[in-house]
Subunit: 736 residues, 2 copies
């Protein structure tokens, strides 16, 4: 007992010093006293706010009067101590909110009691027994989760700040917070100072604790890095983790994750030091980040699953609720957010949440979906590290979205997927990115961590709708190599045009092979659904094997070629680089000139028509080989294998017809394409003729000059084609 | 021309004779003039009715003024001529309705013009060029579709009856209808006189045409069979195709299909000859049939997929809309139907449709789901051919439904699935029946017909959650054999009890082996989700191989035993009887005493804990082997293989926990069962002890005496267990 008191007195002195210098009126980290008063007044008359309040109250009330366990850390993700500590920080934050909103001290006491237990536990902690990552945690198996704890515990402390006596505050600051903050800022400083989503959480945690405990030293480290030199911390993250248009290097799934600490911390900083104008930084980069993430969702809210991503995650997740509600407050009302807010069905108990809930009440005609449009994202802090283009056509439920990825690697969650495409249509994923192999939060599945198959399959090139050369992944699957390079965007024409286009060149994924892909989304007159014309050129000095998969989702309906199924015994497609996880279900050798493959995804047919120069091998495959723990989904692919020096893969994807099992009516189940032929393929130009419904569609592109002003002329079969800019599309001799 | 006129005159005389005797006021087949007047008046003020009207009007208006094609039959299901003729009869009926509802003769003329084309075409038709079935069609590839045509064309004729001149009526009756009716009633009489769903359509077609064309001869054949002796026709179908409680021999998927012609024809008969009281027949058997079908749906409206069934079909299909709307009219308002009607979102333009739409408008608090309850269906016209039991617990979204099938075969759409179980939970299919392999209406997939894999896999025993002996299907897969027999129900205790039970004995599926299965659905005090305890006994004279699959849907999470995956090369589980379609993904040899297997289906965990006597083989499998046209889905199974003379398979299925990827919270991911042991297994009694959460659950059953009054006593480990009736369940020495 004596020892504790001595310890306490020393710490109190340290805390009081900071308190004197930077005294603030609390709460201010999550919401100010004024915000709280507004929300409190509105709860009785605002159903959504009341629902959110009731939900929180119900969850906290169930814990009142209980001796809540603060266990010695033992289990990995999904296990008891992991979930308990996660549960605890949620309860602490929620109970703190209830204290503010009801004034009932029982809620403050619940938080205080838990803090006292952590004040006893935390000083005793060493690395977590299940720690396997390079940044081990203490309360949790990885430091990232400890950062989560700091964020919410910091917010909770701020909410009950005025309920605590100065001595109690010091006791908690010293016992519960200091060991964690010191661990982050002194022991694993390199991790804390990274420009990476983990560090975003870490700085948010330290910063929010600083604001809550009136410790400006913490705040400065959180804003500017452990050395306070601006090379790390929130400001460096805002400047370095997003491209100028808000694209987040790890992709939309992780943008979702990162926006939460960004918004929570920025919000707290904004209350703490409004003069910093943190939300205005870099042309409102946090607004762009949020909207960039929303723009990269499917109609059901699911984030595009490129890079490591779990398909179950949608924009109804808590992170996006919080960010959207804060954005509503700091950036002003935005009707585009309302379909998302409506799907979320809950709001934060803050000024922004109040605003959103009022707007949802007031607006009788909320659009069914976020106002998705075609969009070009640059990657890299300066916007010069490639990017991602989303070509779109169609309205509401009929939206077609084609994603073309030529961004940089995406840190540890990046995949070897240069020039990959993905297709979503009518709200369904049609040409998929596998995402990651992981059962988040399920302890039996390796503690909820990323599973080994993420690396051995999901990240490999063959798992993507792009070319694998010689059964070897891009950059030989070496992250450090891949991080160095990015493809070069050649042109992007997006918007409400009959022809939208995107093209990029990669010169680094393979030593001997350049990859040049151009994708055209063409809406023919009088048709609803677009046609995709896909030019994939490889440029090499010698012959290689080129595998181009279309990871289709759906049922094989028909092919224009015979194939042999390997009905009695399955073999894998290869031995490594992801190939070892792929079963060959069927194989074919197809001779010139055309492959056609029709599949059904939900109620829509899709046909891929591909030109065949001499002959190609075709494989129908299924994932699941060498999967000792059943970690992989069983997914299908249609892979075309070409041996050539330079390949010119020319594929046309049609979206057609309708299958209605309920009414038993099927329309347009057959492809309208009768021929796909290259008409030119030189260093300077590539061009194709597609015959569809008997009409001739000609697509030409320049392979070298992408200037919008440049005039080109090609003479094909005695006929002259003239155009300006990098490409042109003709239908029956008329430019589209 | 001359020839046609002569032909016409003769026929006219024949028609006029009938007309004189049985003149009726038209319309009356689908709706009476009074009904039409009511509907017409209500359309402007009733949104749902108006929507249905507008939809029909839009579809018909698009065809006005066009020369609609009535092509010479050529294609199978999904092909042009197939879909065109289907489209035509729909347009004819809808346009007839519009004529009645608007009085605009352009709609009547559209119908008449089409009829004139059919009057030219139909007399020329021989068997359809794509006819492959034993009952070939003429307009379509199978006679069944011709029957569909007759039904709708008959209804359409009735609707424009008064618009046509007597000569026009005769021309259509003779040209369009007579060749089809004669073909049915004279050429393929055995088919017309079957007690089978095809014949239900056939008689409805002939009967409705009879009513529409004032031809009572047709009506009599339709009501009583081609010989008018009552051994066939509608009356025989009503008496013979349903069990006394409305179970339809082919299962709920086909009940859906059959209710349409039943209701349409009965409705027409009811208007034509109310004195027959056709809807009252057999204690309102048609009401019971409809409700039996609804009772056998999942929360999403999907029909239980046992027997040949396509999972895409739900109760929103047109057949059920029509039947439900007529039932509302003839059997009176029923709030239980409203959740179904609401999901259907459309009504027929009839008195019943009007009533349903008004009820939907009026009722502000429609229940979210049909009022599902536990239910026992008997099979067979007398209710003595086995049956199907559905054990249920939980409300609304939390509904758990366990289906136990001990019915007779189910005609040509039956499977070899004696004592099969299926599980639906929280609206998801968890232990599945594969259903049928078919892409209905997709021409490329064998003309939309049942695919060969329906017979070679989906109907075989190994595709089901029941025992396959010696890799041979029940009745050796011979339909004629299977049709002869049915299991014997032993007891059914269903309702709002802590323990629900169902048990049956099959003595015919195998020559040497009796199959005895008892399933207990136990709700332990203080728990939400039930526990399934499954006793599967086999009784034989010599040793056999017993395979018991659980065709689980979801992801393998964990097992308590080690297994080897066949990661580099897959082999099939066997060579025939469905085994040739199954890949062995993993195998294990598990020693006594316990297998545990946990999987995740959506957000819920399921664990199957099985007692192992000495050792068992376990296989994790996947369908898709020997599937040359990619007709099969890739589905998983967990199969336990036992070699024994008499097997006592003792399995406990737990439903537990929650996985929420959005919030990243996982609860109760682990099984609570620590031990499953048989405590008695004699000719007279079987019993098991299950330790769950440290508590002892004892389940005892009599294997021979199922009398509810009989008192039993068992002494186990010196402790006496006394009970009355066929079984008892104790928890910690207290009877449940």
């Amino acid at each position: 007992m004596k020892k504790t008191i001595v310890f306490f007195l020393i710490s109190l002195a340290a805390i009081l010093m900071h308190t004197t210098l930077f005294a603030q009126k609390h709460p201010l980290a999550f919401a100010t006293a004024n915000d709280i008063a507004l929300v409190k007044k509105s709860i009785p008359t605002n159903p959504l706010l009341k629902e959110s309040f009731d939900e929180i109250k119900k969850s906290v009330d169930a814990n009142l009067g209980k001796d809540i366990d603060v266990p010695v850390p033992k289990h990995a993700g999904g296990g008891y101590t992991h979930d308990k500590h996660k549960d605890n920080y949620t309860i602490m934050f929620n109970s703190g909110m209830l204290y503010q909103l009801t004034g009932d001290v029982k809620y403050a006491k619940l938080v205080k009691d838990l803090f006292f237990k952590y004040a006893v536990l935390n000083p005793t902690l060493k690395n977590h027994p299940e720690a396997t990552s390079s940044s081990p945690g203490r309360i949790f198996w990885q430091a990232l989760n400890d950062a989560n704890w700091l964020v919410y515990a910091g917010l909770a402390f701020d909410l009950i700040h005025d309920y605590l006596t100065p001595a109690e505050r010091a006791q908690i600051a010293t016992g519960a917070f200091k060991p964690e903050v010191d661990y982050f800022t002194k022991d694993i400083t390199p991790w804390f100072d990274l420009i990476h989503n983990h560090a975003v959480w870490a700085t948010a945690g330290v910063g929010i604790v600083g604001i809550a405990t009136d410790n400006d030293d913490y705040v400065q480290m959180a804003l500017y890095g452990s050395k306070k030199d601006g090379k790390a911390g929130l400001t460096a993250h805002l400047d370095g983790l997003f491209s100028p248009d808000g694209y987040y290097n790890e992709g939309p799934y992780y943008t979702r994750y990162a926006v939460l600490p960004f918004y929570l911390f920025a919000n707290a900083v904004n209350h703490y030091k409004p003069s910093l104008q943190i939300f205005e930084r870099r042309n409102k980069i946090l607004k762009q980040a949020l909207e960039g993430a929303l723009e990269q969702t499917n109609l059901d809210g699911g984030f595009y699953s490129y890079n490591d991503a779990l398909k179950e995650k949608t924009f109804v997740s808590n992170e996006v609720v919080v960010a959207l509600n804060i954005a509503w407050d700091v950036y002003g009302e935005n009707p585009a957010y309302l379909p998302v807010a409506k799907a979320q069905g809950r709001v934060t108990l803050s000024k922004g949440g109040l605003g959103v809930s009022q707007a949802l009440l007031k607006n009788k005609n909320i659009a069914p979906f976020y106002p998705y449009k075609s969009v070009v994202f640059t990657d890299g802090a300066k916007g010069d590290f490639g990017g991602v283009t989303v070509l779109r056509t169609g309205k509401d439920k009929n939206l077609t979205s084609l994603i073309f990825k030529y961004s940089s690697h995406g840190l540890s969650h990046g995949h070897y997927d240069k020039l990959n495409i993905n297709l979503y249509d009518n709200g369904n994923e049609v040409l998929q990115d596998y995402g990651a192999a992981r059962f988040i939060g399920i302890e039996q599945k390796w503690g909820g961590r990323y599973l080994p198959e993420t690396k051995s399959y999901a990240q490999q090139t063959i798992a993507h709708n792009t070319v694998t050369v010689d059964e070897t992944s891009h950059f030989n699957g070496v992250e450090a190599q891949s991080e160095k390079y990015h493809p070069i965007p050649l042109y992007n024409v997006v918007g409400n045009y009959a022809v939208q286009a995107t093209a990029a060149l990669d010169s680094n994924a393979y030593k001997d092979v350049k990859l040049h892909r151009s994708v055209y989304l063409i809406t023919l007159p009088g048709t609803q659904k677009p046609l995709m014309v896909d030019f994939f050129r490889t440029l090499a000095s010698k012959e290689h094997q080129y595998d181009l998969p279309f990871n289709y989702m759906g049922n094989l309906i028909s092919t224009n070629f015979k194939y042999a199924t390997h009905g009695n015994a399955l073999q894998t497609l290869g031995l490594k680089n992801g190939y070892q996880h792929i079963w060959k279900e069927a194989s074919a050798n197809v001779k010139s000139p055309l492959t056609q493959f029709t599949f059904l995804n939900n109620q829509t047919f899709y046909t891929i028509s591909g030109f065949v120069k001499d002959s190609v091998q075709v494989f129908f495959t299924r994932t699941g080989a060498n999967d000792p723990n059943f970690n992989l989904r069983r997914e299908s692919s249609y892979i075309t294998r070409t041996r050539a020096k330079n390949m010119f893969a020319l594929n046309v994807l049609e979206i057609h017809g309708n299958f209605n099992a309920t009414s038993e009516f099927t329309t347009n189940a057959y492809s309208r394409v009768s021929s796909v032929l290259p008409v030119v393929d030189t260093d300077d130009y590539s061009g194709a003729e597609v015959v569809i419904d008997g009409k001739h569609l000609m697509v030409f592109q320049s392979n070298k000059i992408f200037d919008n002003k440049k005039i080109h002329q090609l003479i094909i079969n005695g006929k002259a084609y003239n155009w300006q800019g990098p490409f042109v599309v003709y239908l029956e001799n008329k430019k589209l």
